[in-house]
C-alpha cells in the first residue's frame, strides 16, 4: 500500500516535537505544492509592543515546510538535513492571523534537493507575502533512516 503525499507529510510533521509545540499542520501536499499552517499564538511573538511574530518562528515554519515537501516527495523515506536557508522578511506579519507556508521542491539531484517557499497571510481574498525562502537539503540516503522512524511514517501512531 502506498501512502499519499499528504499522509506522509502529516506523519512526518507529527514526529517533530518542536512543530507540535508551535502547532504546525500540513493543509495540503501534492506533487506541486505543500501548504503548512502556523497558528498565530502569543508565545511566538517577538515584539511585545506590536504583537508581531518573531522571525524565528517563521524560520521554523519555512524550514519545516521545505523539509516536509522534500520528505514527502522522495520515494524512500529519506531524512534530508538542511544544508542552508536564505530568507527574506518582506513585511511584518499582521497579529492575530495565521501564517501559511507554501513550499515547492524545485529540483531533486543525486546528492542535493532544492526548494523554495513563501509565507503568506490571507485577508479575505487578498494574499499578502510576508517572507520568502530558498532552502537546500542534503541527501544522505535511504539506509540512513532509522527503522523505528520509518515504521512511524508507514504505520502512523499505531507503529
Amino acid at each position: 500500500m502506498s501512502l499519499s503525499l499528504l499522509t506522509r507529510a502529516q506523519r512526518f510533521v507529527a514526529t517533530l516535537r518542536h512543530c507540535q509545540v508551535l502547532g504546525l499542520s500540513v493543509e495540503q501536499a501534492d506533487e506541486q505544492l505543500l501548504v503548512m499552517r502556523l497558528p498565530y499564538r502569543e508565545q511566538i511573538v517577538g515584539n511585545p509592543a506590536t504583537g508581531v511574530v518573531h522571525g524565528g518562528s517563521l524560520t521554523t515554519l519555512m524550514d519545516t515546510a521545505c523539509g516536509t515537501a522534500v520528505f514527502a516527495t522522495l520515494p524512500g523515506f529519506e531524512l534530508c538535513p538542511t544544508l542552508d536557508l536564505r530568507m527574506d522578511y518582506m513585511k511584518a506579519a499582521t497579529p492575530d492571523i495565521d501564517l501559511l507556508a507554501e513550499a515547492r521542491v524545485t529540483r531533486v539531484a543525486s546528492s542535493v534537493v532544492f526548494t523554495e517557499c513563501e509565507v503568506v497571510q490571507r485577508h479575505g481574498d487578498e494574499r499578502e507575502v510576508i517572507a520568502r525562502c530558498a532552502a537546500t537539503f542534503m541527501r544522505i540516503g535511504e539506509n540512513m533512516t532509522p527503522p523505528e522512524f520509518r515504521a512511524r511514517i508507514e504505520h502512523g501512531d499505531d507503529a
Partner: protein, 144 residues
C-alpha cells in the same frame, strides 16, 4: 510599559533581563544571555520542546535559526543606540553539524552599522567554539 520605555530602562539600569523576559518567543525557546562588558554570550539551554526529530535526537534547525536571529537582534539592542527592535531584512543560515540535544551557545559580530542597516554575523556552537554547528549573517533595518 512600552517596548521603547523598557529599552531605555534596560540601558539605564544596565540590565536587559526584564526586556528579554518580555519577549514571548525568547521564553518559548528558553534563550538566556550573559554580558561581559561589551561582549554578549547567548545560551539556549537543553530543552525537550526544542527537539525536531526525537529519534536522532536533534534540535530543530528552525529553533537554531530562531535562536541565532533573536541573539543578533538582542546583540544590536545591547550594544548599539537603536531605539526600537531592529527589523530583520534577511537572514542566511548555513548548517554545519547536527545540533545535539544539549546546550547551545551563540555570539554575534556587527561587521557594519550604517545609518539605516546593520550587518551582523552569528556563530552557534555546542561543545567547542571552534567547531560551530551553524553560521549565519543577517541584515537589520534600524529604526531611529
Amino acid at each position: 510599559m512600552s517596548f521603547e520605555a523598557m529599552l531605555k530602562q534596560a540601558r539605564l539600569d544596565g540590565d536587559f533581563k526584564p526586556l528579554v523576559a518580555a519577549i514571548p518567543y525568547a521564553g518559548l525557546i528558553g534563550l538566556q544571555f550573559q554580558r561581559f562588558g561589551k561582549d554578549v554570550l547567548f545560551q539556549l539551554p537543553k530543552n525537550d520542546d526544542n527537539i525536531g526529530n526525537p529519534i536522532l535526537p536533534a534540535i530543530h534547525g528552525g529553533v537554531i535559526g530562531g535562536f541565532m536571529e533573536l541573539s543578533a537582534s538582542l546583540h544590536l539592542l545591547m550594544t548599539m543606540e537603536t531605539l526600537a527592535m531592529p527589523k530583520m531584512i534577511d537572514f542566511s543560515l548555513d548548517y554545519l553539524r547536527a545540533g545535539r540535544h544539549q546546550d547551545t551557545f551563540a555570539e554575534c559580530q556587527v561587521w557594519r552599522q550604517g545609518s539605516r542597516v546593520a550587518n551582523v554575523a552569528i556563530n552557534a556552537w555546542q561543545a567547542e567554539r571552534t567547531t560551530p554547528i551553524a553560521t549565519a549573517r543577517a541584515h537589520f533595518l534600524l529604526t531611529r
